[in-house]
Amino acid sequence: MSDAVTLTLRAPLAEPIEAECVRADRFAALDEREIAALPVWLGRRQARLGDFFEVRGARTARVRIAGDVRRVDGLGAGMTGGELVIDGDAGSRVAAGLTGGHVEVVGSAGDDAGMGMTGGTLYVRGRAGDRVGAAAPGASKGMTGGEIVVRGSAGRDAGARMRRGLLFVGGDAGDSVARATIAGTVIVLGRTGRNPAFASKRGTLVAVGGVDIPVTYRFACTYEPPHVRLALTYLRGRYDVGIDRTFITGRYRRFCGDAGEPGTGEILEWLTE
């Protein structure tokens, strides 16, 4: 057993590959040869993980990926436990369907990061693409548990159709953030894009860095929401994210909506002091 399994990209990739086999929980039971023999896909063509990566280490649920893997999709997808650290950028669908464990992207993540995840944590130190934490195509629910923390900005449809869980965006969020949420919490420290929390049934969108409140949301009051304080205090202590104290202790304007739905969702807009 090694301290960690390290996958090092042998050469820059000419085309994207699908590597959903890269799961820390799965590596815990495999030796180097078995890991290298795991299948990856280039379009419809099957290849072996070892064709693209040098594999070092075996039989551990701690995995590190070195090299530019922004063209490698599906890393950590469906992982149930363990730790996966991607030293640079990651391709699309990183940690999609995650049910447990911790996935960390030191760079930025592509589209569909943490899509439909049900548990575990995804920590993206850079930016995230579109649909982070959202629903898989055709699925009725986005993430239903766990945490996604994006230090940078996020693209469109962040947290769309979310059912449970916590999605934190340290930078700006694109259009339609928290669209059609069923429940859960989305926190955006930067500017929130157009149509925030559109058609949400329940759930919370915390907008710190500015938001255009839709006319379908109704003002309730100005107050200090204790759950926002709890969540931000937790995030600041757990992750290396810069959360100003005034966001934690400050007052928020509460808007209830969306009017076309049960109306028990909310947008909490931070009140500049």
Binding site: R229, L230, Y234
Partner: protein, 305 residues
């Protein structure tokens, strides 16, 4: 064995297993966290009549609480898990939920056994309540006139120890009170232990049952009542005219042992003749705290004794 001219009787305190929860109350400032804690722990001196025993464990700095606000930690003991859950629902619902600015959190997150007072109290929200999951724990947001009350759904239940005690035998009431106050001051704030009686002190130590009244659960500890010296089998030395008792409940034996050591050491003051302890001959409770052993350990550990 003498400690600074105070005789340490060769006896032990007998204590019992109890179920315990730690409730962390936070508020806008320390004053309101304390106000809620004082109400929460009111009328909770003895399970005999109060159904639970509770007191403030210690004041928490904002860096020690889940939401970064000033807080107060309370320990609440009951005889079984079901009773503990009921007491939490009753007491938190009437005292913490009602208190301005407070939130309420579990202080025993590692405990596997759980009760869910937050789930029960959520219905006060009359359907407007909402839940949030943070760090894997569910919290309930209950709308109230002030704004919103936040409470953790489940609280850990540990097996603690209830009924640790020692008696201060003094020449007069003033000396007994001064000694007991010094002992309380030495124990207050120690983690994992509480003194559930008023100001930490009990003047009416009891014995099990009654010599005269059937069905009475407890009655005065006549052997330690100075006024009854010629009327009963007294346990008091001739020069003793007042006795006070400290009762200690703790998360474990070690917490009680440490607190008894600190308390007895502080209690050995002028006017105190002896330190004793209450027990039932070792037949009822599995936890035995031998006074001389505890204070001997204090000597070996280099603490004053």
């Amino acid at each position: 064995m003498y400690l600074r001219d105070v005789f340490l009787e060769d006896t032990f305190a007998e204590a019992f297993p109890m179920r315990v929860a730690r409730i962390v109350i936070t508020a806008v400032n320390a004053r309101w966290a304390r106000e809620a804690a004082l109400k929460l722990t009111g009328f909770a001196t003895s399970v005999i009549a109060c159904k639970c025993e509770a007191a403030i464990e210690r004041v928490l700095d904002s860096s020690e609480t889940p939401d970064g606000r000033p807080g107060t930690s309370v320990l609440l003991f009951a005889m079984d898990t079901e009773s503990l859950g009921k007491r939490l629902i009753e007491r938190v619902g009437q005292t913490v939920l009602t208190c301005p600015t407070t939130s309420c959190f579990d202080g025993l997150p590692a405990a596997e056994r759980r009760v869910t007072p937050g789930r029960a109290l959520r219905v006060f929200g009359d359907g407007f309540q909402a839940s949030k999951v943070v760090a894997g724990e569910r919290y309930w947001r209950i709308p109230v006139m002030e704004g919103e009350y936040l409470m953790q759904e489940s609280f850990g239940v540990a097996t603690g120890v209830g009924g640790g005690n020692f008696l201060i035998l003094a020449t007069d009431a003033e000396s007994a009170l001064a000694s007991a106050e010094a002992a309380v001051a030495a124990i207050e704030g120690m983690p994992g232990v509480i003194l559930p009686f008023p100001g930490g002190i009990a003047r009416s130590g009891s014995k099990v049952g009654s010599r005269r009244y059937k069905g009475l659960a407890a009655s005065t500890n006549d052997a330690y009542c100075p006024t009854l010296r010629p009327l009963t089998t007294s346990a008091l030395p001739p020069e003793v005219n007042s006795v006070l008792e400290l009762v200690l409940d703790g998360l474990d034996e070690d917490a009680i042992r440490r607190a008894m050591r600190a308390g007895i050491d502080a209690a050995c003051r002028p006017g105190v003749r002896a330190i004793s302890a209450g027990n039932y001959g070792g037949k009822l409770g599995p936890h035995h705290f031998y006074l001389r052993e505890i204070m001997g350990a204090a000597r070996e550990a280099g603490t004053p004794a």
